[in-house]
Amino acid sequence: MNREAVVMRVSPKVVRWLWASAVVGGLALALGGVLQPQRLWPNLLLLGFLSVGFGLGGLLLIAFRDLTGARWNDSFRCVREAMASALPWTAPVLAVILIAGLSSYPWSQASTLAEETDWFKRWWLEPEFFTTRTISYLAIWVGFAVSMAWASRREAAHDGPTRTSIRLSAAFLVVFSLTFWLASADWIMSLEPTWYSTVFGVYNFGGVLLSAQAAVTLLTVWLRQRGPLRNVVTRDQLHDLGTLLLSFSCFWMYIWFCQYMLIWYTNIPEETSHYASRIHGLWAPLFYANIAINWAIPFAVLLPRASKESAGILVKVSLLVLVGRWLDVYLMILPSTSGDAPAIGLCEIGAMGLIVGALGLVFLHALRKSLQFSPVEPSRHADDTPVSAEARR
């Protein structure tokens, strides 16, 4: 396929809608911040953490491909690369949110931690040290995003990942697993400074992986319906996307339960406090909905082969899982920061609109750029396509 054929043509309507979503969402968020100032920062944190998570998810999928040598999804690698290249845009936003909102963390008031916790936690949660760590994590990730995108552009002519790509990806996986584990503890878990769970970072990793797979599936199907991937993605590749979505959903549930069961079993007050504030009252429906949306429904729907091959069902499940990711992080942040009861108000809706619009625009921009460097090529099995079309009759 030559380069002229892959020029990105997105209808201006879509772009207009994304702009509208971002602007209206931003205004709603600002208005909500004026009306309910205590809900503004938690929603900003949620927004920043989610959007950085999507970039990291894109990097993860690139690293998996480089290290496993999987070639089945190379024909739409532009999708995950565009996701990853959103990271340099979203990371500074999160850094500003975290540093500006430092006083919203309970440990930033010296008295909170003075009596109850050990010296290590006090030392670890020094505001200066926290800021340094935050900037380091984000800078490291952005560095990987930039260098992996550079390596990916260089390999476009090759058949498969270059040595540089493989080394970068291996280094990324090692560095990411440590930094993300610490970062999720720093940014989210320390909202409840007396609670801790060592699997918390892995749990967030499961969520990032699941939502990244959902985003890749959603965008791939969308670009297949009305974009440059129209004749590129086969039904078998949709099937593989659906299989991965199903398995990552099960992985998320597995880790969720790992954390829950140990805390439930030992039943120590300082550990159960996290669940006690989420499993009771009006939070309870959201708590159970989280499990249903992120695992039970996708599992039941995606189990039959036919639904993994159906573009329509994949889109619906991916959208559901993306909402589930929002809910998952919402349940991590909001019960610890604001209030005894959940509220979906201007702040929440505005933040959602802003993130959908802004990330969509960044993605489209990155996709256009990515397509210039790595043109869409039919997969090696593209000669299966007429067969599948034949068999579909």
């Binding site: 039904r235 078998d236 099937h239 339960f257 829950y260 069961m261 439930w264 079993y265 030992t266 039943n267 189990l303 082969r305 099995h381 000669d383 299966d384 067969v387 599948s388 034949e390 068999a391 579909r392």
Partner: protein, 386 residues
């Protein structure tokens, strides 16, 4: 019934799939397809109904999960209820890991078993690939010769057009899955015999298990008992090396336990007065740590009867037990530290001895706290809680 069949061998899966489509388009009958792994899209190209193996997997997984749920409920709530950390007998979260493992095990074994049954791979069955390389990197397509009008040459040409590397005509015996003739009869016979021997060994092992029923009233026979019997003397066993014949030796007469000095007083009021004259608090009132320790000891062991302020209004006294005299007024204020130490150590009237609960250091620390209660003007040591 024997069938004449064309066997076409391919090197690429795409060629195989394309050949399947071409053969079906030509109206020919496909006997079977062989591939070393699952080829995506092949079953659709063949037009066969989807494999039912996934149903076998789903049902055996479900059965395993349900069995494990029932089994754990029965063992922990019905047959032998066991209190684990105060949880209810029937605690679903505790069952989930085993349910999960049982589901995975049953689904895996059930799927393999269903595959063996469907493929008729009974024990002792010897199969030989119809063409070399089918277990490795080659693919085979079998086209059946249906009637006299079958033009083997034309079909061979068609298959070669789809990049078949080899097309040969074979006669396959019955309509069981065609397995090809055994190429090495002697080797096949030996393999079959080995299978029978292994089966026999399995049966013998199982039978011996039943024959050698263990007798629970007898110790088991020991095999290589080196680890079971320690050559060292245990503390209670007889020992010829010592004059008294015991392994655990008594301490030398007059030995004291480290950190515990004996108290040479009897448990009488006279002796308490003597203790008051002779003993002095080794802890200083300026010692902040001792003060904190004393406050903690007092709060834990004294408050129930004497009350937080030492006025004899503890919860035990409020509920009818004879109230102890106040520690902050009257007689107690005049008692020297040594006498209080004697009273805490041996008890007095209704107060039992505290020597088993409190170390001498803690007793002296508690006395420090009592003194600080008696002089409310003095600043309380930090850490004292109301």
């Amino acid at each position: 019934m024997s069938k004449r069949t064309l066997v076409a061998v391919f090197e690429r899966e795409a060629d195989l799939v394309r050949a399947v489509v071409a053969v079906r388009k030509a109206g020919l009958r496909i006997g079977d397809v062989y591939a070393p792994y699952a080829v995506h899209g092949l079953d659709r190209a063949l037009g066969w109904r989807p494999s039912r193996l996934s149903w076998a997997c789903a049902f055996s997984g479900l059965a395993g999960a349900i069995f494990m749920l029932w089994f754990q409920w029965w063992t922990s709530a019905v047959s032998w209820p066991l209190n684990v950390g105060g949880k209810p007998w029937n605690s679903l979260p505790a069952f989930v890991p085993i349910i999960f493992e049982g589901m995975v095990l049953a689904a895996g074994l059930g799927t393999v078993f269903a595959l063996l049954v469907v493929a008729r791979l009974r024990p002792g069955k010897i199969t030989t690939p119809i063409a070399p390389g089918l277990m490795d990197d080659r693919f085979a397509l079998l086209v059946e010769e249906t009637d006299a009008a079958f033009d083997a040459v034309a079909v061979s040409e068609l298959l070669r057009g789809c990049h078949a590397v080899e097309v040969s005509e074979r006669v396959l015996e019955d309509d069981s899955p065609p397995l090809g003739e055994a190429r090495d009869a002697a080797r096949t016979r030996w393999r079959r015999r080995l299978n029978y021997v292994l089966l026999l060994v399995l049966a013998v092992v199982v039978a011996m298990n039943f024959l050698a029923l263990p007798n629970p009233s007898q110790p088991n026979r020991e095999f290589l008992p080196d680890m079971a019997h320690s050559p060292a003397y245990t503390s209670e066993s007889a020992n010829p090396n010592f004059p008294d014949g015991e392994t655990l030796q008594r301490p030398v007469l007059g030995t004291l336990v480290q950190g515990q000095m004996p108290l040479h007083y009897a448990a009488t009021d006279d002796e308490a007065l003597r203790a008051g004259r002779e003993l002095h608090n080794p802890l200083s009132a300026k010692d902040v740590h001792a003060g904190e320790r004393g406050a903690l000891v007092f709060q834990t062991f004294c408050t129930p009867c004497h009350g937080g302020g030492g006025q004899g209004d503890g919860l035990v006294a409020l509920r009818g037990y004879p109230a102890p005299p106040s520690l902050v007024t009257g007689n107690t204020t005049k008692m020297p530290d040594g006498q209080l130490f004697h009273i805490i150590t041996y008890g007095r009237v209704n107060m039992p001895s505290q020597s088993g609960l409190l170390s001498p250091h803690d007793r002296w620390a508690a006395i420090l706290h009592i003194r600080s209660l008696q002089t409310p003007a003095a600043p309380k040591p930090t850490g004292a809680k109301p």
